[in-house]
């Protein structure tokens, strides 16, 4: 609609209102307002249009009233500016959103590590970002000795910076194949890279473990990561997979201890990020025991079903509003 026909339409509905003074006419005004917004008409133009219609259709309107509208128009100029700025920022945001969408897809394809298919263990994984991009990371490698290594990491911080840091971790790990068998030295190498390349107030916690089927032992080290759980079938008990170690990126020459756990058939290893244990509900944070009991209730299911179920239950507890990136891994032996 050009400005001439817009003006005509405005005159028509305004006069219609003055004649009938009913809700129907006012409803027309609301619809017209929406149309003007669609056409990027600014508030000061609306005032000016109003004055034009008034002075044309009511020739005996006093000058004072008309002049007062000039005053209003002056006030409206800044509203008009704010309105246009808002529009331009909204466009900018749309553009940013679509860029993030592309980056998030890219990250998903990076993150999508294959979960190894092996005869001695059943593995289930779920990893869900709180926002579009995730600061959680997990990675499995099944080497030619049939060993399975697993890494789970949480970059402190969320969103894009965390995601960028995550891709760096991924490429570093890919380039350290000879350290794969030694969890401690893997973390030591990663620590150096993170310390040198990442902003000082950004930290990464990581748990790295390796299962060797030849000796049926699980070797692991942790860099300040949320402790996982070990389920012993013999004792029918969950215990914490305790491991001490500083977070990655704090000081250059951190050493990481290596721990060993004997694994029997029926045992289970649970690894997670703090997005799992720090689910915030109306009553506060959930307890780690609640996560354990959710797993226990579903223990008989295949590993993937267990993690899916735990995720669903915890998501429900938070009214389907994730506040932190969520990663849960279950390995059943």
């Amino acid at each position: 609609m050009d400005s001439q026909s817009l003006y005509k339409k405005y005159e028509e509905i305004l006069l219609n209102y003055l004649e009938n003074r009913n809700e129907r006419a006012l409803y027309k005004a609301q619809q017209f307002g929406r149309k003007m917004i669609e056409q990027n008409i600014s508030p000061e133009e609306v005032v000016s249009m109003h004055v034009k219609v008034l002075s044309r259709t009511m020739p005996n309107l006093d000058k004072e009233t008309l002049d007062a509208f000039d005053f209003l128009l002056e006030v409206m100029v800044d509203y008009g500016l704010a309105y246009r700025e808002h529009q331009s920022l909204r466009n900018k945001q749309r553009q940013l959103d679509s860029e993030i969408e592309v980056a998030a897809n890219l990250q998903q394809s990076l993150l999508k590590g294959d979960v190894p298919d092996c005869e001695f263990a059943d593995i289930g994984v779920i990893s869900q970002p709180a926002k579009k991009m995730s600061g959680d990371y997990y990675h499995f490698v099944n080497d030619n000795h049939n060993c399975i290594s697993v890494a789970i990491a949480d970059i402190v911080g969320k969103g894009i910076p965390a995601a960028m840091c995550m891709s760096m971790i991924k490429y570093t790990m890919d380039s350290l194949p000879e350290q794969r068998m030694q969890p401690g030295s893997m973390l030591e190498n990663l620590n150096r890279v993170v310390e040198q390349n990442v902003d000082p107030n950004m930290f990464v916690t990581m748990f790295y473990g390796l299962y060797d089927p030849r000796v049926q032992e699980f070797f692991y080290s942790s860099a300040g990561h949320e402790p996982g759980f070990f389920y012993s079938a013999k004792e029918d008990q969950f215990t914490e997979l305790e491991a001490k170690g500083l977070v990655l990126g704090l000081t250059r020459s951190t050493k990481y201890n290596e721990y060993v756990k004997k694994v029997h058939s029926g045992d289970m290893i649970v690894l997670l990020t703090d997005g799992v244990t720090e689910c915030r509900t109306e009553k506060g944070f959930i307890e780690r025991e609640e996560v354990v009991s959710l797993i226990r209730d579903n223990m008989e299911k295949p590993a993937q079903e267990i993690v899916d179920h735990v995720f669903y239950e915890l998501e429900k507890l938070q009214d389907f509003d994730l506040r932190d990136d969520f990663t849960l891994i279950v390995i059943k032996f």
Partner: protein, 133 residues
């Protein structure tokens, strides 16, 4: 009537004078009320910038005729500190977020043409034009 077309901006009162200058000339040239208000607001904003940040500058207003196309040209010139990052200053939400007013993007929107030249430690010159519709 020949009005003084250049105002030195030293205090807030000068901002009002600069506005008046723009208002009178835009009226003379036949701009509609909405555009009069827009030109005046742009001048106001430019003058305020001089008053707040430069303390030594002027606003000049003059008619312009580009091969029959009539318009009003505003020049804002100061020997202030200059703008360090012009691109940033031209970004939406940069100056306005602190409630500083319409800012330079606002001035650009109010006018049809907008040119800025700024050098740190030397000063800033802005030329803005509104064409008669």
């Amino acid at each position: 009537m020949r009005t003084q077309s250049c105002i030195k901006i030293k205090n807030e009162w000068n901002i009002v004078q600069a506005r008046q200058l723009g208002r009178d000339l835009s009226k003379q040239l036949g701009f509609q009320t909405v555009d009069q208000a827009r030109i005046t607001t742009a001048i106001s904003e430019l003058a305020r910038n001089i008053y707040l940040y430069a303390n030594d500058g002027f606003i000049k207003v003059e008619p312009i005729n580009d091969m029959g196309k009539l318009g009003l040209k505003v020049v804002s010139s100061d020997k202030g500190p200059g703008i360090k990052d012009v691109r940033k200053a031209m970004e939406d939400g940069y100056t306005t977020s602190g409630g500083l007013g319409a800012g330079l993007p606002g001035v650009k929107r109010l006018m049809d043409e907008f040119k800025i030249h700024s050098q740190e430690g030397v000063g800033t010159e802005i030329v803005a034009i509104k064409w008669l519709r």
